[in-house]
């Protein structure tokens, strides 16, 4: 009896223990599978938020945590992986618009146009763009009609999803434009590639141009009509604006001018109902912390909030890096706890206004400092740029935890750029536009700037278009692209303080018109060939 019992016990224990192999399928508590993540309308929106969050934040888990843990990041500061921040360093700091006082070798070589391929800012910028592409790919991969079939979405959700998918393609095309512009020949990954350890192929700059053009044209019908989408989401206007931007630069990217197309798409945006932010201090209000309100000019912004979208990049960087830490000087800029003593302008920027007091051309928004930069790392050498501010148009400071974070949104695309593109394309002999319209558009900018209409152009040249661009668009992350298009980025014909690493500036090799593919990715991906000259 007892023997049998024992035998039964042991046998049953074996069977019981033996039946546990299913227990090897374990899943984490606080994460979800893709099957769950995309199964509800709310889930779709939450995923969409990640796509936009990939350029408004460095990561989704607090200000200190980046989605990109990159070795050799400058100063080990995760904030350097922010999209606007690192693009400022590549697009503005490399030009006459900005110079930085932070005594870091890697940073100084950016303004000196003598960077090396393992410069941490390069990998940060490159990885940020590719990260947003990767999450957009994932969204497209997971929301194909096959994959969502079982969720039985209603028609309204399916219609929303059609827009979301088009926005994912837009954001991806936008970041491919960033890569095409900065690095020329990046790795190329779409939703048809796997997630794992594969080696992405490299794409040539001209081929990438064709891809971006095709994507933007194809997906356009699936985007929401201009000005009809929610704030801070891309619509057809944004896609046209990006097309206008790639066409005006087409010669740089492909060797072939596409000014006619630039006119077509700039015109399309202009006709879509956007308006300049006008009236008293209209220009200034474009860059204040309530610029998300009553702003008919912005086509697509990156939205920040000092409480809910915290990021030490973005406008928080643009404002703090240009401010000193003494409180009396902080107060007027809405950052009582901040001020990082970094960026100023070289004298070319204020001098582009002639009178840079801001009394006439209201776009000249400068603080104190010497006009000339004798010492790159002395913060009081060079005028402070106060264009971006955390103050609201009524002079209030939005709430912030530490008096540093800012709520000002960054305009990725705004109407003024379309006027500039239209005018430039006309001057560059694109067809479909007229010189009178070009003058009209340019003078709309002039009258807004002077808050009167007595300072208009009567003729347009490439030179005054480039200068107007600098006055209108400085610190909006496009100066390097503009100088390259006008052949002035590397050449010795146009100089600024500390260009090429010398006080009065000097020309550098034309190969500097492209950044090198960052060495870390060259090492991990044998498909990548380094750009010429590096």
């Amino acid at each position: 009896m007892k023997k049998n019992f024992l035998i039964i016990t042991f046998l049953s224990s074996t069977i019981l223990l033996g039946s546990c192999t299913k227990d090897l399928d374990l899943t984490p508590t606080n994460t979800i599978t893709s099957a769950v993540a995309y199964s509800t309308p709310q889930g779709l929106k939450t995923n969409l938020a990640k796509l936009y969050g990939s350029y408004s934040l460095i990561g989704s888990f607090g200000t200190g945590t980046s989605d990109l843990s990159i070795e050799g990041l400058p100063d080990n500061d995760q904030a350097n992986t922010d999209f606007v921040r690192v693009n400022f360093n590549l697009q503005e700091l490399t030009t006459d618009n900005a110079i930085c006082a932070w005594n870091s070798g890697e940073l100084q070589t950016l303004h000196g146009l003598n960077w090396v391929p393992n410069n941490g800012f390069l990998i940060a910028a490159y990885a940020r763009s590719i990260y947003q592409i990767t999450v957009c790919n994932e969204f497209l991969r997971q929301t194909t009609s096959d994959k969502i079939a079982s969720y039985n979405y209603d028609a309204a959700t399916l219609e929303n999803l059609r827009h979301y998918r088009a926005e994912a393609r837009f954001l991806r095309a936008f970041q491919y434009w960033v890569l095409m512009d900065l690095f020329g020949n990046p790795p190329f990954i779409t939703e048809n590639d796997p997630i794992g350890k594969f080696l992405p192929p490299q794409i040539k700059r001209a081929e990438l141009f064709v891809y971006i053009e095709k994507e933007l044209t194809e997906m356009n019908d699936d985007l929401v009509a201009p000005k009809q989408n929610e704030y801070a989401r891309a619509d057809q206007g944004a896609a046209w604006a990006l097309l206008a931007r790639i066409y005006i630069n087409a010669k740089v990217y492909t060797g072939v001018e596409k000014n006619t197309e630039a006119i077509t798409y700039a015109q399309r945006v202009i006709d879509a109902g956007y308006q300049l932010k006008d009236g008293t201090n209209g220009y200034k209000k474009l860059f204040m912390s309530d610029n998300d309100q009553n702003n008919p000019e912005i086509i697509l912004p990156i939205a920040y909030d000092a409480l809910r979208t915290q990021n030490y990049g973005g406008t928080t960087f643009l404002i703090n890096s240009a401010t000193s830490n003494t409180s009396d000087k902080n107060a007027p800029r809405g950052i009582p706890g901040g001020g990082w003593l970094g960026n100023r302008a070289t004298k070319n920027l204020p001098l582009a206004f002639g009178d840079y007091s801001g009394l006439n051309d209201k776009r000249a928004i400068f603080g104190d400092g010497t006009l000339d930069v004798a010492d790159p790392i002395a913060f009081d050498n060079g005028l402070k740029v106060n264009k971006f501010t955390n103050l609201s148009s009524t002079g209030t400071t939005p709430p912030s935890q530490n008096g540093t974070l800012c709520s000002t949104d960054f305009p990725l695309f705004r109407l003024a750029e379309m006027y500039l593109i239209y005018a430039e394309a006309v001057v560059r002999n694109g067809s479909g536009g007229t010189m009178s319209k070009a003058l009209e558009y340019m003078n709309l900018l002039r009258s807004r700037a002077y808050e009167n209409n007595t300072n208009g152009f009567t003729t347009l040249t490439l030179d005054n278009i480039l200068n107007e661009r600098q006055r209108e668009m400085y610190w909006e992350n496009c100066r390097r692209t503009d100088l390259i298009r006008f052949g002035k980025f590397t050449s010795s014909t146009y100089l600024w303080s500390w260009k090429g690493g010398v006080k009065d500036g000097k020309g550098v090799a034309d190969t500097r018109n492209l950044f090198p593919i960052p060495s870390a990715d060259i090492l991990s991906n044998p498909n990548l060939k380094q750009n010429t000259g590096y």
Partner: protein, 989 residues
Amino acid sequence: MFLSKTKRLLFLVVCCFSITFLKAQAPLQVTGTVKNEKNEPIQGATIEESVSKKKTQSDIQGKFTILTTDKGTISISYVGYETTNFAAKSQLDIVLNPSTTVLTDVVVIGYGTQKKKEVTGAISTITAKDFQKGAITTPEQLIAGKVAGVTITSNGGGPGSGSVIRIRGGASLGAGSDPLIVIDGVPLQGKNIDGSSNIAGSSDPLSLINPNDIESFTVLKDAASTAIYGSRASNGVILITTKKGRGKKPVFTYSTQVSVGTLARKVKLQSADQLRAYVDSFAPNNSFKPLLGTANTDWQDEIYQTAVSTDNNLSVSGKLKNVPYRVSAGFLNQNGLLLTDYLERGTAGISVSPVLLNNHLKIDINLKGASTKTRFGNGAAIGSAVYFDPTQPVRTESPFGNYNEWSTPNPITQTIDLNRLATRNPVALLNLYRNISHVQRSYGNIQLDYKLHFFPDLHANLNLGYDIAKGRGNVDVPDYAAQNYADSGQRNQYLNKINNKVGEFYLNYIKDLKQIKSNINVIAGYGYYNNLTTNYSFSNYRYNGNLIPGSGKANAVDMPENTLISFYSRLIYTYNEKYILAASFRRDGSSKFAKDNRWGTFPSVAFTWRMINEPFLKSSKTLSDLKLRLSYGVTGNQDGIANYSYQPFYTPNPNDSTSYVQLGDTYYGSYTPSAYDQNLKWEQSQSMNIGIDFGFMNNRITGSIDLYSKKTKDMLNTIPIPLGSNFAPKILTNIGSMENKGIEFAINTILLNNKKYNWSVGFNASYYDNKITKLTAIQDSTYKGTILSDGNGIRINTVGYQAGSFYVSKQEYYNGKPVEGLYADVNNDGVHDNNDLYRYKSPTPKYVFGFSSQFSYKKLTASTVLRANVGNYMYNAVETGASQSSVFNVLGFVSNSLSKINNTNFVYTQSRSDYYIQNASFLKMDNIGLAYNVGSILKNKAQMQISFNCQNVFTVTKYTGIDPEKYNGIDDSLYPRPRTFTLGASLQF
């Protein structure tokens, strides 16, 4: 799921034991035989029956006859064997088991035991009599320096701070190198991959185990002995056996210890006067001079205390009816050297091991529990005590709790502004920081070993175990404390729970086949192991209880879990007690890997030749043992791999997040896809071992020599991956390879052994070398390797070099003095930059020695343990701070410096200079002690022993920091190991 199964199972077990049977008494003549475990008859065994207490003895053939009743029990006892009881029946054929007290020739191996002389693997056993003595808080310290190839490096002098244990150097870089520890058959969950304790509020999980309960350690080193543990075996296995009940009459043992820990060595700093003179010597009128004070404070004296500790243990061991038992309780009250630091620990243990059903069912039940209260001193004080200006007093009138802190009066606001970036007052760091934890842990198991009635050669063994713990604590810092000034203090808490389960079942078949001079021993088994941790996260609060904005935590509860399922088997075939062939095979399935990679196979094979049994050696008078061991095996490593990293997942961000995304007028949380490698799998190590065990002069001299090599492949490494191929720029993947090799030598001798004198000496030595052979998918000479994060990245893993080599600049000298900023142009590019770094030495010792001696004269015993490491280097991070610019800090304060600041005269800190990589070879006397066996006291009612010990007696080294021993080789404010004097007494009654 498993729990319900366990319950059902336990229910069955309980049912089976609760069957009782009552019958009327009737006279019964019992006849039988008594045999030993080798089936040889035992003559002279005492047979006693329970009804009328009659006794008889077995004859030369082991036979006996005795009269009792059918309700009686027969008790059989024989010297050296376990006394065993049987219900009376007419025929009783009994096999006695050797008692554990004389089991010294039996070695515990994975899932069983083996005769020491027949052991096939590289196994070392240390029993209680050879343990390190003195005040020992965590069990692993008992065997420090005792086993060749095992290094135990304590994490510092903090109470219960544990150690880094490495067997043959460990086999991994990215998946953990800690050995598997099994206590009485319950495998413990490993520490976290960063070496921190998996139980919140404890410095080390082993600090919840009372060393006084431990009977023996068995260290399994080579693959032949560890492969039976499969995927958890690559780093070696330590089997811990706790003390069990023995004897008949209850014996109480009470031991008490009082110990006094003192600071063995201080950092040699400038005195206040020296600092004043130093500041003066630069520029008598500089802006720093007015910052100096007039006090003479030795900050190290201020933060360290003489640490008095007590440890009391009481146990009772005996046999209740047929049930041997041991019950123990201990209470430890240990103070740290650092002010405010203490550990209070209460432990309790019960072990019962009844033998039932005519010796057919052996049950072992072990239950242990511990409860600790710990106050963790703020470790930041150790570094601050080095740097804080000695010319300042400890206390002064200030808004910072009247502690003196670097601050300046603000003439406008009439307040005192704290210099937020300055060094903090070390005493305030300690006194105003209250981090107090309460931890409870219980672990135990029930093991049933059933010898089948109808087939007694076959044993069925069922082992069910658990390990649960709860750790919680609070950190309070008042709002006026400078250390948390910006946040207005803190009032935070932490909590986690672990819940680990073990279920194992195996069948063991042992058969002597006399006709063919063979013995076979086969086991086949199944194991189920589940580890569930529950981590709670809390928001951060200011001292006044207000939430710190933006500190909301993602998820209140996270429950990481992993399961391992195993099938294992082993065959040991012994021919003529001369040739032993052992082979084992384990198949493990782990929840940490995708279905396709989930199952791994881990085989081993070993051959042992007992040469001493060959005719040509058998007659040798000097040689008493000689054995050759050869083994090869494959083991795995998965303990340090995160639970779910093969799975594609999305992590929602917190509801109270600061990382929302604005779309329209609404702020949305988002789902973040995590990077993953679905092909993740175990690391695999292939090990070879050649060993010789020898004995001379009737084994008065015994020893062994082992040569081994271990090649790890598919080693985990976090490597940069092509951007765009995954959701992160780097990923943990199986990519590397590493080779370890070494030689171990151990010898134990009894130099004297007579009535008056007894002197035994043990010595071990090991040589170890390691080389990384692969780290990336594509061999790439420009890939510099993986920088390790500790010590500000001073160490690196590089192909072709030792793991964790230092990565530094090569200092150039002029007139014997290092020249600031002048380094060799290692890469010959004409400039000194980051590319000029080179790999230089490593913290791993090439040679490790251990020496133990125990000398008795009559009732007096003197013992000592010495250890030496040779060839290990240390980064003296404390010394890097000895530069002018750190004394004259631009942030507006003065720092102290080492008294040898003028050795370099560096203006700026040169933290990457190889000048600071120093030879840290050492010889340490760990322990010296005297014990006196008082003998019988209180009219023979009790036995008493008193002892005196000194630990951390002396250190011989060229290294200039306070202690040359630190596992990671980075000397940055190590919690000093105390020199401890212990007075102890133990009483048996």
